[in-house]
């Protein structure tokens, strides 16, 4: 799994030669490898599955600071679930997880192609990161409230939200539940507990804390969960979320999805170089878990721990999921411009789908044939849904939402100026 690793030799930061002795100089962090250079994952802090203890959920945050620097793993190189974090997930749940991850991937592939075919303007995949959303959906209760970014489509899929609805949104067609108002992939589903995804990074993190505070205020049992990218942790909202979550002991699971890149900026530009993102939690007195984000079982176990803790009114946990954005940032991006071509393939933590599949095989509950059959079945599921959605319309053809709706929902009731403008447009 770690064939491309080589000994850790920090790449020297090219600095302008100081003109005076003892002069200061500015450090601009750089990734270990750029296009054309040798892969180098030497700064990834790995741990073995058995190396990281699993504390009781009512542990004091300060007793488990080490967990922010280790890496919770369950699946070993032989596909066995090992160590204290190995969850007691039944086979059906594992197979469901595999199915949803594979369905997410198949869905992504189709919608990516749909964008390339001009059927919509934009698309974002989560290839390589499927375990995060899917395993977490499994660990959360169905009515816990999710505040995701644009890269947790697996949440909707694992919660059974209809694929066709997702496609209608991406295609901005007449049946788009968001009436053509949002950029593709910025889903929203109150019924499925997924908050309206914002185009502005970071904002949802503190909103999730507010939702959790509301739930606590109402003596509810539901908790909230939020996701944020490694790059976006630099926004003030991240700090606000940790601060408010700590102060009010909000029942929320706060997830940093560290997929190593923020468009073209490596995680070191977000401050992930000198200390892992998980460790940010320490200063707020919150527990932190750093987890192998491509290990379905580890993600599930870590999430289940945090969920149980929050539900027991013990407050928030920050989880860093160490994963890798296997493809471009979006359909507008070309990652070969800024990172070595083989980085995804060489990623030391492998592929989440392959790893869960291998685990099921290892425990005698799966096979290559069944895997291939499932892949084909899901391809067909996605194709059928795609046909259905495209029959309604795409961004460029077929039926669109009524233009009249453009003027609705700005306010609950349209004030005079909005009514006037709608009349001006003649709709």
């Amino acid at each position: 799994m770690t064939a491309t690793q080589r000994p850790t030799v920090a790449k020297a930061t090219p600095a302008r030669q100081a003109s005076r002795p003892n002069a200061l100089s500015l450090r601009i962090p750089e990734p270990r490898a750029r296009p054309g250079e040798m892969l180098d994952f030497g700064n990834l802090r790995l741990s073995r599955g058995s190396a990281v203890e699993r504390p009781a959920i009512d542990v004091q945050a300060h007793e488990i600071r080490d967990l922010a620097y280790g890496l919770i793993r369950v699946l070993d190189d032989d596909g066995q679930a090992v160590g204290p974090w190995a969850p007691a997930l039944d086979t059906q749940s594992l197979r469901d997880g595999l199915r949803w991850m594979m369905l997410t991937r198949a869905y992504d592939e189709r919608m990516y192609r749909a964008q390339r075919q001009g059927k919509t303007s934009f698309y974002m995949k989560c290839a390589g990161e499927e375990a995060v959303a899917v395993a977490q959906a499994l660990a959360l209760a169905p009515d816990d409230m999710c505040f995701p970014t644009y890269r947790q489509q697996g949440l909707l899929i694992a919660r059974g939200y209809p694929l066709v609805e997702m496609m209608n949104q991406v295609l901005s067609n007449a049946l788009d539940p968001l009436k053509g108002r949002q950029l593709p992939v910025l889903y929203s589903s109150r019924d499925y507990g997924v908050f309206t995804i914002s185009g502005n990074l970071g904002t949802q993190f503190i909103q999730a804390v507010g939702w959790a505070m509301a739930s606590a205020y109402k003596h509810d049992r539901r908790i909230a969960a939020a996701w944020i990218g490694d790059g976006s942790t630099a926004e003030g909202d991240f700090h606000h979320a940790l601060t408010f979550a700590s102060v009010y002991r909000a029942p929320v699971v706060l997830n940093v999805v560290n997929n190593q890149w923020a468009i073209s900026s490596f995680h070191g530009i977000a401050g992930g170089g000198d200390s892992p993102f998980a460790s940010r939690a320490i200063g707020y007195g919150l527990p932190a878990l750093r987890v192998d984000g491509n290990d379905f079982l580890a993600v599930h176990a870590a999430t289940a721990w945090a969920v149980e803790r929050a539900r027991a009114n013990l407050g928030a946990t920050l989880i860093e999921h160490v994963t890798y954005r296997a493809e471009g940032h979006s359909t507008s991006d070309d990652p070969s411009q800024y990172r070595p071509a083989g980085e995804a393939a060489g990623w030391p933590l492998g592929d989440p789908v392959a790893r869960l599949s291998a685990h099921l095989v290892a425990i005698g509950e799966w096979s290559a044939d069944r895997h291939e059959a499932l892949r084909k079945e899901l391809l067909e599921t996605v194709r059928a849904a795609g046909k259905e959605a495209e029959a309604v319309g795409t961004l460029s053809t077929g039926s669109r939402p009524s233009v009249r709706t453009m003027f609705e929902d700005v306010y609950k009731d349209a004030p005079w100026h909005i009514r006037e403008q709608r009349q001006q447009l003649g709709v």
Binding site: T196, T203, G210, W211, A214, Y217, A241, T243
Partner: protein, 340 residues
């Protein structure tokens, strides 16, 4: 039951009434809990309604508005205080990108029915960061309502309406008139609210509708549009100038009561707009544009704007900056005298 209240008491009473009526109403912000707010608008509410219903927050305006969005999505109705309107900018992204757009972008699935209270405006020697009037920065943002009361009675009725409104409301409170009306004559004795008829406030629940201006004085020669503290300055200027002006207190500046404005300007043919905010791209610009679009053939003189200068609000020059009754009166005279 009626009581005599100043604006702080009226605002306090509105929150008190709503906390009692609706368990989904929460009040929070910097120093609003135990202490009751630096202007004391929330005094006693924590003690009466409980720690969880009226509490202090960290000093992070973006954070507390963000939290209110999440609470709104859950189904609560947060009433948040920004200690001074000058400190609302750290929350600007949450307000513009989230609060204002939640209903639209989620096609009505999620809403943020919050009330954002903030003391605003000058006249208190607060210097450049305790005197600002940022209302135009919100009227440009689709999805927000902006309300500015000018007296205790309206303050309570409008605040209750704002809290009950299913859309987010920016509720700006003219801090200079918290304790008494102020006509801009800073060298004259201060008058308490008790002497003003609008200090008679029902103790219980009542509302003043959002979107409706009040005609404070009927007149024929010129229409004056104002809100907040400036309403009192304008009334003084009218009296001193002896002109027969029609004075509209807008109360809600967006969506503004366009019918009342158009009717008045069509009648008088002349208009002066007064606000404390810096002039350029202030709300007076929008009012001017709306009026000239709708009343062009009725206008007999250019619409004038009397506003704060396009500088920060300087500490030492409170009264040179503040658009007082003399500047308003001069504009009134120019407007009434103008002919093509």
């Amino acid at each position: 039951m009626m009581a005599t209240m100043n604006m702080i008491q009226a605002l306090n009473s509105a929150m008190d009434v709503m906390l009692a009526r609706d368990p989904d109403v929460l009040v929070f912000g910097e120093d609003v809990g135990f202490f009751g707010g630096v202007f004391r608008a929330t005094e006693g509410l924590q003690k009466k309604h409980g720690l969880e219903r009226c509490f202090d927050t960290p000093i992070a305006e973006g954070g507390l508005i963000g939290v209110a969005v999440g609470m709104g999505a859950y189904g609560l109705r947060p009433v948040v205080e920004i200690q001074f309107a000058d400190y609302i900018y750290p929350a600007y992204d949450q307000i513009v990108s989230e609060v204002a757009r939640l209903r639209y972008r989620s096609a009505g699935q999620f809403t943020a029915p919050m009330t954002i209270r903030a003391p605003y405006g000058g006249g208190i020697f607060g210097g450049q960061t305790h005197s600002q009037s940022p209302e135009a920065l919100f009227t440009h943002v689709a999805g927000l309502k902006v309300v500015i009361p000018s007296n205790p009675h309206d303050a309570k009725g409008l605040l209750i309406s704002a809290i009950e409104d299913d859309d987010p409301v920016i509720f700006l409170e003219p801090k200079r008139i918290y304790n008494g009306p102020f006509d801009g004559h800073h060298d004259r004795p201060i008058s308490p609210w008790a002497k003003h008829p609008a200090s008679a406030v029902p103790e219980d629940y009542y509302t003043v509708a959002i979107g409706e201006a009040a005609i404070l004085r009927a007149g024929e020669q010129v229409t004056i549009l104002a809100y907040g503290t400036m309403v009192h300055v304008v009334l003084a200027a009218v009296e001193e100038s002896g002109l027969d002006a029609e004075v509209l207190d807008l109360r809600t500046i967006w969506p503004v009561d366009i019918d009342a404005i158009v009717a008045s300007v069509r009648k008088t043919g002349r208009c002066v707009i007064v606000h404390e905010a810096t002039r350029t791209s202030g709300f007076g610009a929008e009012l001017t544009a709306l009026i000239q679009e709708r009343c062009f053939y009725h206008l007999e003189a250019p619409i004038e704007r009397v506003a704060g200068w396009d500088t920060p609000y300087p500490h030492a020059f409170e009264w040179e900056y503040f658009p007082g009754p003399d500047r308003v009166a001069a504009a009134l005279r120019r407007t009434v005298d103008a002919h093509g």
